[in-house]
Symmetry: C3
Amino acid sequence: MTSSNSQSKQAEVNQKHRVVFQMNSNDPESQKTLINNILNVKKAWGSHVAIEVVALGPGIELVMTEKSAAAQDVAKMIKSGVIFVACENTMAKKNITKVDLIENVGTVPSGIEEIIIKQEQGWSYIKG
Amino acid sequence: MTSSNSQSKQAEVNQKHRVVFQMNSNDPESQKTLINNILNVKKAWGSHVAIEVVALGPGIELVMTEKSAAAQDVAKMIKSGVIFVACENTMAKKNITKVDLIENVGTVPSGIEEIIIKQEQGWSYIKG
Amino acid sequence: MTSSNSQSKQAEVNQKHRVVFQMNSNDPESQKTLINNILNVKKAWGSHVAIEVVALGPGIELVMTEKSAAAQDVAKMIKSGVIFVACENTMAKKNITKVDLIENVGTVPSGIEEIIIKQEQGWSYIKG
């Protein structure tokens, strides 16, 4: 977790802000709030922020073509560089396949592990 | 987030605990829980902890004079050094102005960005 | 939070993943989700992950023999090395004593402080 001074300076030069959002809820209101939060972050930091949204549990509906209340927003954001990933554990449990997901949504073996790993790598974490 | 070994040691000598609370909810029960959590933290760590509460979305009501279920507690805590800030994005959306906020509540351009930045600076994060 | 490549490799050899879960809810569905998340993490990382669950507020029911919807799972997980701790502030408030807790559940003076300290020590944080 710690590193030398020179590395820190290097990091400050090269590095963007990095944030991972945890999306657990299929509540349309929560989905809209998340979209809004991302828009605000992009507006302020532009290309200087890396954003990943991890959809898991009921929250997986955010990235499902037929179920998302924000499907168009998600598609547009993916084009602008925001990463959306679905939890494969959740997919297996709910019989969801890649075909059910919005185009260019990625998958990760486990949503929880993904969030843990991102924090290990220094990403900030927001529970949506 | 990062530092050299000597900086770390320095930090351990000088530095207090630092925690940023995210307040998204306008549920009075959640507001009371947050107040309680802060009281407990202050009781244990006294002046050795820096506490900031970021009120955003529906949670902005926590810091609004007319709407907060904990207005007196918030005012008292501000006097004791706890920082409360409101999200300007939320304020703009809900037509809330500084006048509507409890005295000495600060504002930040974006509540989400504030929480991201605080984590980058090594603050612990609690989703209220 | 950042480190050189060689440090990263070193970390992968020596260090386990470490994650602290915050359990605030007494909703049986949330309890099951938490148990599931832990099972998935254990399945993937086995002994290479340290897991601590902090039960506080209404979430303390997770670790109470008579109230938990997942008492058997909790007992089994403790045997497999997962740490469960109850918040003593919550216990005092609700007149809960050690006798009411599932065997080998620990206690901490304050659940919130425990989560803050764990993050200071580099643990990842998941709001359950």
